[in-house]
């Protein structure tokens, strides 16, 4: 099912197929993320959500199909080249630098940006996550899960991205923290004008936040539509919201 065509896409994924060795993980996925939108991708374990996110980042590379970012074909580029073009990634499992302090982690996030606005960007991140300001000298590895997630998001924002990719930011966090994280993602999109593409298992929170959503099953896009539509969709409710099966 191919539905929404966005007038001004920031990211277009066109017929992308990805393999792990001989195993095909994605079977021709099409999706689009418009400028300024929050788009979410939901699906069960093993549906290929993380694979799609990683394919967008160039590791693994798409076997066929195209990934276009802001009008430029980035399918064959190396990860660090893609990041250089304004795509920031909050990887699955947060992957902060455990032996570095909060401040140093944020510094690493600013690797690509002009040192002139480092102080300003740091203020913005600390304003968004005051907890990080309190713990700026603490080692990343000693933070709680929620704080680590905040740090991972803050680190990604330090590069002043135009597109922010988030891979399961709610993973392993307490419900209260999950709500805080999703609130922050909403603010990033609305106040900072960053386009957000969010991969989530927590379909309820993700669809409530997102402008639009896609449902991925067995490496194919099964459904797509506005967030509230999907939230009301019977199939989605059965499979992802009420503990059914995909």
């Amino acid at each position: 099912m191919r539905v929404t065509v966005v007038p001004d896409p920031m990211l277009s994924v066109r017929g992308v197929a990805t393999f792990y060795g001989a195993i095909q993980a994605l079977h021709g996925v099409d999706l689009e993320v418009g400028k300024g939108e929050i788009v979410t991708l939901i699906g069960a374990n093993g549906a290929g959500k993380s694979t799609l996110l990683m394919t967008i980042c160039g590791n693994p590379r798409a076997q066929s199909g195209q990934v276009v970012f802001d009008g430029e074909d980035i399918t064959g580029l190396a990860t660090h080249e893609i990041v250089r073009r304004g795509v920031a990634q909050v990887p699955e499992g947060r992957r902060i630098f455990p032996r570095m302090s909060v401040f140093e982690n944020l510094q690493m996030g600013a690797t690509l940006s002009d040192p002139a606005h480092f102080a300003h960007d740091l203020e913005r991140v600390f304003a968004m996550f005051p907890r990080l300001a309190e713990r700026r000298e603490q080692r990343g590895g000693t933070l709680s899960g929620g704080e680590q997630q905040m740090l991972a998001i803050g680190r990604a924002l330090m590069s002043r991205p135009r597109l922010l990719l988030l891979d399961e930011p709610s993973l392993g966090l307490a419900p209260l923290i999950v709500r805080q994280i999703f609130e922050a993602i909403g603010r990033i999109a609305r106040e900072e004008k960053v386009t957000v593409f969010l991969v989530e298992q927590n379909a309820f929170h993700a669809l409530r936040l997102a402008d639009r959503g896609y449902v991925l099953a067995n490496g194919r896009v099964r459904l797509s539509g506005a967030g509230h539509e999907l939230l009301a969709n019977a199939e989605v409710r059965a499979a992802y919201l009420e503990g059914g099966h995909a």
């Binding site: 980042c57 590791n59 190396a78 990860t79 660090h80 990041v83 250089r84 920031a88 990634q89 990887p91 992957r95 902060i96 630098f97 455990p98 032996r99 570095m100 302090s101 401040f103 140093e104 510094q107 690493m108 996030g109 690797t111 690509l112 700026r136 000298e137 680190r155 990604a156 590069s159």
Partner: protein
């Protein structure tokens, strides 16, 4: 109490039995060559074996007692053993006296350890203790530097000490260089000595065949070694952990074998001799200068003393090592240095932040290799003779041990570990063949008591609010 005592005795007896079973072949008798007619015969050294078994029995008993919380008996036992070791009692070899005394000393140490441990823990929570700690963290590096600078002017500075000082500083420099690759970038390099060899042969060949001086060759040797670093870097970029270690190990051996077998170029196993030493503003360190040159003694108008050369070499390597250290400290504050550390922590996350892992790894290899090249040039100039013998795997292993035991990434830790690992075996030369035992013991003790290295914690490279952290790393 009684059943426990019996259990302890049983345990100690079993340990002694194992010692006896192992030791009977290793210590118990030795084969002696009694001439071509009769061949080999045996010489029994059962007294040695008996002493060893008794020491092991008492030692095991002491450890069990200590584990049971009986400190005073352990200390008493230790003191008795130390007394026996230093007593004029006649044992078959001097080493056995050492063995008995050392065993006793360790038992005493084990006995007082819980107290010492608690005392240190309590003291570190008082304000005075915290002050001492802070001063230690801030000033230890500077204090070591001050000692290093004034050492040649103290009465201690005889030829032996200065020689040892030069040796230790060479390893400090190598340790700091390897620390960039292993400690900061987290790339396990087992072939570091290859770059040391490249630097040494660069100077040896350029000076003996093309007449270039030490100071002219030094930067060339560094660049050449850095080039080799990049050459090694390319094939290993995709490797991690164990695989990287194996390939670097192979690279180290390849360089050594090429040097060994390319006789036309490197003079093979015979090595290269009469390499000129470093000069001071063109003046040489010798009793009489070659034609057209001046000796340093003439230039400065002081009487000739053969120690001057050694003292000069000492300061040269001190300055080279300090440059390595300053460079590393600077790099840690620059984006590329931080990228090294980030790469060690998580390569995937680095890519996600736009860091190019290829370039980052290559710069780490190149910079680390460059300092090994400098050190190699210095080594050739100091020894005046080099051969492939000096660049075997054991050198790489020792340098790596210095970095690991010092605490990965810690600059002061490397100094302490170099003093311990290079200094101890030299000081214990009187022990003869057993000095490697002291070396091994030192390693085991460090790993038992400081499993993360002598200085195992990492200081942030930058703080928003400056805290005492100067001079250390």
């Amino acid at each position: 109490m009684a059943p426990r005592a019996i259990a302890m005795l049983k345990d100690a007896a079993l340990t002694a039995l194992v010692t006896a079973a192992l030791g009977i072949f290793i210590v118990g008798f030795r084969t002696i060559d009694v001439g071509s007619r009769t061949g080999l015969s045996f010489d029994y050294e059962l007294t040695d074996l008996a002493v060893a078994v008794i020491v092991v029995f008492l030692g095991r008993l002491g450890l069990s007692l200590a584990a049971a919380g009986l400190r005073w008996p352990v200390i008493a036992l230790g003191v008795v053993m130390v007394a026996a070791g230093v007593s004029p009692m006649k044992l078959p070899s001097g080493f056995l006296h050492w063995f008995v005394a050392l065993g006793g000393a360790l038992l005493v140490l084990r006995g007082i350890w819980p107290w010492a441990d608690r005392a240190v823990a309590v003291a570190s929570h008082t304000s005075g203790g915290r002050l001492v700690q802070e001063i230690g963290a801030k000033w230890l590096g500077w204090a070591l530097l001050a000692v290093a600078v004034v050492l040649p002017f103290t009465p201690l500075a005889d030829q032996k000490t200065m020689d040892l000082g030069v040796l230790i500083l060479t390893y400090v420099m190598l340790g700091w260089g390897l620390n960039i690759v292993v400690g900061l970038a987290g790339l396990l390099d087992l072939g570091y000595v290859a770059f040391y060899a490249v630097g040494a042969y660069a100077y040896a060949l350029l000076s003996t065949q093309h007449g270039l001086g030490f100071w002219a060759v030094l930067p060339l040797a560094g660049m050449l070694a850095a080039t080799f670093g990049i050459l090694l870097g390319f094939p290993v970029l995709r490797l991690r952990g164990d695989y990287l270690a194996i390939v670097t190990l192979g690279f180290g051996e390849i360089i050594r074998l090429v040097i060994l077998n390319w006789v036309d170029f490197t003079n093979g196993p015979a090595g290269i001799g009469s390499i000129p030493g470093p000069t001071l503003f063109g003046a040489v360190f010798a009793e009489t200068a070659p034609a057209g040159r001046q000796t340093v003694a003439e230039m400065l108008g002081i009487p000739f003393n053969s120690n001057h050369r050694l003292i000069f070499l000492y300061y040269v390597i001190l300055v080279l090592a300090l440059i390595t250290n300053l460079f590393t400290q600077r790099m840690r504050r620059l984006p590329v240095g931080r990228a090294w550390e980030a790469l060690r922590e998580d390569e995937t996350a680095c890519k996600a932040l736009g860091i190019n892992p290829t370039n980052t790894k290559l710069t780490a290899f190149a910079v680390g290799a460059m300092f090994a090249g400098f050190a190699g040039s210095f080594f050739a100039a100091k020894q005046r003779f080099i051969s492939p013998e000096s660049f075997t795997f054991i050198e790489s292993a020792i340098i790596l041990a210095i970095v690991v035991l010092g605490g990965m990434g810690s600059q002061v830790g490397v100094v302490l570990a170099a003093v311990l690992l290079i200094g101890l075996p030299e000081w214990f030369r009187e022990l003869g063949n057993y000095r490697m035992l002291a070396f091994g013991l030192a390693m085991v003790l460090i790993m038992v008591f400081r499993p993360r290295g002598l200085i195992g914690h990492r200081e942030p490279s930058i703080r928003l609010h400056p805290v005492a952290s100067a001079g250390s790393g």
